[in-house]
Symmetry: C2
Subunit: 362 residues, 2 copies
DNA sequence: CTGTTAGCGCCTTCAG
DNA sequence: CTGAAGGCGCTAACAG
């Protein structure tokens, strides 16, 4: 087994002391090392193909240069967009990003935060996926708190309520506005495709949507709120189930059913795309026969046709802002603010209407 | 600034020695610590909210539990799919994944490998993005070699040629077969949307495609091979440029132009989707008016309509296999094999024909 | 079984 | 400006 080259080797090879080698290499605080020695050290390092041990540096410096991102699913375009934002912002600060996917498992979420904490990550960004279960939430909050007192930067994207600075997404308001806009278009009959019922973000979007409808005197029967995994396949499955029992006009261009054209609201664009595929597989045209809306305006999904009406979340910026929040300027975090009343940053959530929800004639 | 709790604190609080505390906590090699002491240590750790310093562990163990993935762009569904595979495989081995995006910058690629090497990552997976520039390639090879002798696991996804085990994608063969299949469908007029000319993977796909066509006596004029960024927007731009000067039937359903319907081959599905959007914006129907094919069969893009003809790469599995290759069983890597003749693993690349390339009538 | 003692690779006072 | 020495947090031989 090949041995690693250490700083001592370099120093020895260059004929200087360990300290000098160290100074020459990462030359902190002005060039306080004689040029010729410095050159010798550099040459030695190059010759020996020296690679400084970041772990050793971390242990003595007390901090690393990695920021950890915990996301639900990188395969999902939504998660990927947030990750892209985080990575861009991190890269500007010369930080490395560690990504972990929880796959909707709350326990995994906690484990990943633990791991990041152990690595002494400079910051942790927790994206989405809050669960209703109070026990795991408490565990998570504890872990976050522990990490915070350790001096790590922290930010959460999504729903407020965790002891950390949060980039708040207006899930409730956005869905509510969507409902109103859709009602304004003439829709009166609705169904909802949501996630598992303990997924708070999905829950918020559903309640916002139903609230908005209620405000204009419309309700959605309970059995028309279907839950499934918040994935493309979940959307497909839920839509299939819905289609199995609803009456949808196919080919008339007007829509039928008991009371006008049905509008299906999927709580995420990803689910909506799955739903779209399910409809297509039954020769039901999205737009003319059945209307569909999603949530997120995921960039990678903007090319879907017909264009998907949705609520625009600045996904990439969410990632950027989260690292801004987690790693503020050069101040020491955690010293000034009350950790129990962390800063919140609100973000827009505007309705975007496209062809998947054409105005209802008449 | 809050102090971190160390193992010494825990040991002290529990009234035991450092060594005992260590043993009790990560209890390696059978329970060799008295239950009551063990309990006291655990209690102390919990009470103090102790979080072991992974860096310190790494430095003494000589190895970490992170695998680094270097990919072009996580925002691109292709990169995301590979990442998903890597993360799944890593998770099975209890490893954490660090993801870095190079954004098509060869220098960044090297910097990321350097960083991973410094962190003493357990393995490095380099996905795609090989450049023609010999200097950066050499630098990269050096870095990889240095990392390899340090005992790190290593795997490359894509084109062989780097001093590392490689999961080889059959870009040349796949494109070639695609060309033949398309010719078999009746197409005789082609254009190609490729990446920057120093991007080897793109280059391979183009040459495979042209080769295939040449084998059946068809050629593509140089000016009909357009290059742009290998992104959705790059595809859009290149297609727009192409459309500005080609004659495409629009609405006749038969296609026109000088010699039958044009088929556009984009070297990646992502580009193809952009190209599709460009065509749509000009009311040119993909399928009836103009045919389009991509490469990769990116899972997230399978719902695109009309279905995109492409060459299927097992993207997610590519990621999985790469970690298998980088972290073989329990053998010591690097001791047996010749590093200059690293193992190669071939993968399928089958043609998938969908609606975007209907058979040409007549 | 438990405690003491070396390091691991590096940075950083502290004297020269 | 340079070198020697101490310590970061932890594990792994060693003794007891």
């Amino acid at each position: 087994m090949a041995e690693q080259v250490t700083l001592a080797d370099v120093a020895h090879w260059a004929g200087v002391s360990l300290a000098t080698a160290s100074r020459a290499l990462h030359g902190a605080g002005g060039r306080t090392v004689r040029p010729d020695l410095r050159a010798r050290v550099l040459a030695a390092a190059a010759e020996l193909d020296y690679s400084p041990n970041a772990n050793a540096q971390a242990i003595v410096r007390g901090s690393t240069s990695t920021v950890g991102l915990v996301v639900q699913d990188l395969g999902d375009p939504t998660g990927a967009a947030v990750a892209a934002g985080v990575m861009a912002a991190a890269s500007e600060r010369d930080l490395i990003v560690t990504v972990a996917a929880t796959g909707f498992d709350p326990a995994l979420q906690i484990r990943h935060v633990e791991a990041l904490r152990r690595q002494r990550a400079r910051a942790i960004i927790l994206a989405g996926a809050r669960f209703a279960d109070p026990e795991t939430t408490d565990r998570l909050a504890d872990e976050l708190r522990g990490y915070g007192v350790g001096g790590g930067g922290l930010a959460v994207i999504g729903r407020p309520g965790l002891p950390a600075p949060t980039v708040v997404t207006d899930d409730v308001g956005g869905s509510r506005r969507l409902a109103l806009a859709l009602h304004g278009l003439g829709y009166r009959r609705f169904a909802v495709l949501t996630g598992p019922e303990d997924l708070l973000t999905a829950e918020d979007r559903v309640s916002g949507f139903l609230d908005g409808l209620a405000a204009v005197g419309t309700t959605v029967p309970d059995e028309d709120v279907l839950s499934a995994a918040v994935t493309r396949d979940g959307g497909y499955a839920a839509m299939t189930e819905l289609l199995d029992r609803e009456e949808i006009g196919n080919g008339t261009g007007t829509g039928t059913g008991s009371d006008g054209k049905l509008l299906v609201f999927a709580v995420s664009d990803t689910m909506a795309v799955g739903a779209m595929a399910a409809a297509r597989d039954r020769n039901i045209r999205i737009g003319p026969d059945l209307a569909l809306a999603g949530f997120g305006d995921t960039p990678a999904l903007r090319d879907v046709r017909p264009g998907l009406s949705t609520v625009r979340l600045p996904l990439v910026d969410l990632g950027r802002w989260a690292v801004d929040l987690a790693l503020p300027g050069h101040e020491r975090p955690g010293s000034s603010a009350d950790p129990e009343a962390p800063p919140l940053m609100s973000t827009p959530a505007d309705v975007v209407l496209r062809e998947s929800t054409p105005p209802v004639p008449g």
